[in-house]
C-alpha cells in the first residue's frame, strides 16, 4: 500500500474520509494537471491504488468508487489503444465523469470559501428572556394528532435510514459491470495487439490494475449482492486482501 502511493508522492489523508471526486481532484492537482482526458488517464492507476489501499470503505461509497475506477479504465484504455471505439453508453459515462468533476471542482471552491467565514463572525440571536408561560393549547392538539405525528416521524426516520442503499443504481451488480468491462477491454486489446509494441509496459499495468480491481470486488473488502431491485454492498469482514 505504501509503495503504491509513495511512488507518486501523493499521501492519502487517513484522518478524514475523502469521496471519489475529491481523491481524483487531489491526484490531478498533485500533478499540477488540468481536468481532461490526459490527466484522467494519467491518474488511473493511482486512483485504483487508492481504492485498493482503503482499509475501511464506507459501505455505500464502494459502488461509486468502483464505477469511477471503471470509467477511468475506459479512458486509460482508450489512450493506450487508439483503435478502441467507445460505445455510446461508455462515451456518456466518460462525459458524465468529466462534467461532474468540473462541477465538483466549483463546489469544493465554494466550500473553501464558506470554511473561511463559517463561525468567524457569528451574528447572535436576541438574548432569551425567561418566557412568561401561559397555558395555551391549540385546536390541532389531540392524542390522535400526537400519535399520527410520531408515526410520521418514525416512518420518515426509516426512509432516511434505507435511502443510502436504494440510491445505488440498480442496473447491474458491480461484478457484472466489472466482468463486462474486463471482457470489453481484453477483446479490444487482443484485436489491436500489434499496436502495443511500443507500450507493452503500460499494457501490463492496465491488465494488472484490472485484475486487482476485479479481485477486490470478488474476494476482498466488499461483497455485492442483489436484493430485490436494489444493490446492497456490505463489508464481508475486516480482513483486507493484500495484492503486494
Amino acid at each position: 500500500m505504501e509503495t503504491a502511493i509513495s511512488k507518486i508522492g501523493f499521501s492519502i489523508k487517513t484522518d478524514s474520509y475523502e469521496g471519489p471526486f475529491e481523491v481524483l481532484l487531489d491526484l490531478i492537482e498533485a500533478r499540477k494537471l488540468l481536468v481532461n482526458d490526459l490527466a484522467l488517464a494519467n491518474i488511473t492507476e493511482d486512483f485504483i491504488a487508492h481504492v485498493r489501499a482503503q482499509k475501511t470503505f464506507p459501505v455505500d461509497e464502494a459502488a461509486s468508487f468502483i464505477q469511477i475506477a471503471a470509467t477511468l479504465l475506459l479512458i486509460k484504455s482508450k489512450s493506450l489503444i487508439p483503435d478502441l471505439i467507445l460505445s455510446e453508453d461508455e462515451n456518456v459515462d466518460v462525459d458524465d465523469l468529466k462534467r461532474r468533476l468540473a462541477a465538483y471542482e466549483k463546489v469544493r471552491e465554494a466550500s473553501r470559501e464558506l470554511a473561511r467565514i463559517f463561525g468567524k463572525t457569528v451574528m447572535m440571536p436576541a438574548g432569551e428572556r425567561a418566557p412568561e408561560i401561559v397555558f395555551a393549547p391549540s385546536s390541532d392538539l389531540s392524542i390522535g394528532a400526537l400519535a399520527e405525528a410520531l408515526a410520521h416521524v418514525l416512518a420518515a426516520h426509516k426512509t432516511v435510514e434505507e435511502l443510502p442503499e436504494a440510491r445505488v443504481k440498480p442496473l447491474v451488480t458491480i461484478e457484472e459491470m466489472m466482468d463486462r468491462l474486463a471482457k470489453r477491454v481484453q477483446t479490444a486489446m487482443t484485436l489491436s495487439f500489434k499496436d502495443f509494441a511500443g507500450s507493452a509496459k503500460e499494457k501490463v499495468e492496465v491488465i494488472v490494475s484490472f485484475l486487482a480491481l476485479l479481485e477486490l470486488v470478488k474476494q476482498g473488502a466488499v461483497a455485492a449482492e442483489q436484493h430485490d431491485l436494489d444493490i446492497r454492498i456490505s463489508h464481508t469482514g475486516t480482513a483486507v486482501p493484500r495484492y503486494s
Partner: protein
C-alpha cells in the same frame, strides 16, 4: 468598526436581560463615567425605531418601545392562539411518548433541529424542562399536568398505540446515545 453606541446596542440585544451599566462599560472598554453618554447616543439613535433603551440607576436593558405595545400584544396573542403546526406537534409527540427526552434525543428522532419547537411548547405551558438527576446540564422534557389534562389522559400509557410507538421511539433514541458516546 462599530461605534460605542452600536457596540452597546449589540451587547444589550444579545443579552436579553438587563445588564449592569458598569459591566457594559467594562465590555466596551470605556470608563464608567462615559457610559451615560454612550447610552444617551444609543437612546437617541433608536428614537422611533420600535425598540428602546430602558435605564435604571444601575442597569440598562433593551425593550420594545411603548409605542409598539399594541403590535407586540397582537403578536403574543397570535403566538398563543396559533395552531401548533407540524414541527411542534412532532416535538410534543416525541416528548409525550418518550417522557424525559432531551433536546439531543428529540433532534435525533426528528432528524431536524427542534429548538424553536421546544421553546414554543415551553412558552405555551405544554411541556416543562427538569434537570437530569445525574447530569445537571442536561434538561429533560415532560408534558405538563395541564397538557395531560387537556389531552384527557392520566399518563403517557393512555396514549394511542402507546406500547408500540414508545418502543419504536426508544429504539431510535438509543442510537443517539450510542452516537453521542462514540
Amino acid at each position: 468598526m462599530l461605534t460605542p453606541p452600536a457596540a452597546a446596542h449589540a451587547l444589550l440585544f444579545a443579552s436579553g436581560e438587563p445588564l449592569e451599566r458598569k459591566r457594559v462599560a467594562l465590555l466596551l472598554g470605556i470608563k464608567e463615567t462615559e457610559i451615560g453618554l454612550v447610552l444617551k447616543a444609543l437612546t437617541d439613535s433608536l428614537k422611533g425605531s420600535g425598540v428602546a433603551v430602558i435605564e435604571t440607576e444601575t442597569d440598562v436593558e433593551l425593550r420594545t418601545a411603548s409605542e409598539a405595545a399594541l403590535i407586540v400584544k397582537k403578536f403574543r396573542e397570535n403566538e398563543l392562539a396559533r395552531d401548533l403546526g407540524k414541527a411542534s406537534l412532532e416535538t410534543l409527540a416525541v416528548i409525550a411518548y418518550q417522557a424525559g427526552a432531551t433536546r439531543g434525543e428529540i433532534d435525533w428522532v426528528r432528524g431536524v433541529n427542534s429548538s424553536a419547537s421546544v421553546r414554543t411548547l415551553l412558552m405555551r405551558g405544554l411541556i416543562e424542562g427538569r434537570e437530569d438527576e445525574h447530569d445537571r446540564r442536561r434538561i429533560r422534557y415532560y408534558l405538563t399536568t395541564e397538557a395531560l389534562a387537556h389531552l384527557g389522559i392520566k399518563s403517557a400509557a393512555d396514549l394511542p398505540r402507546a406500547g408500540e410507538l414508545s418502543a419504536a421511539a426508544a429504539a431510535i433514541k438509543r442510537e443517539e446515545t450510542i452516537q453521542a458516546t462514540e
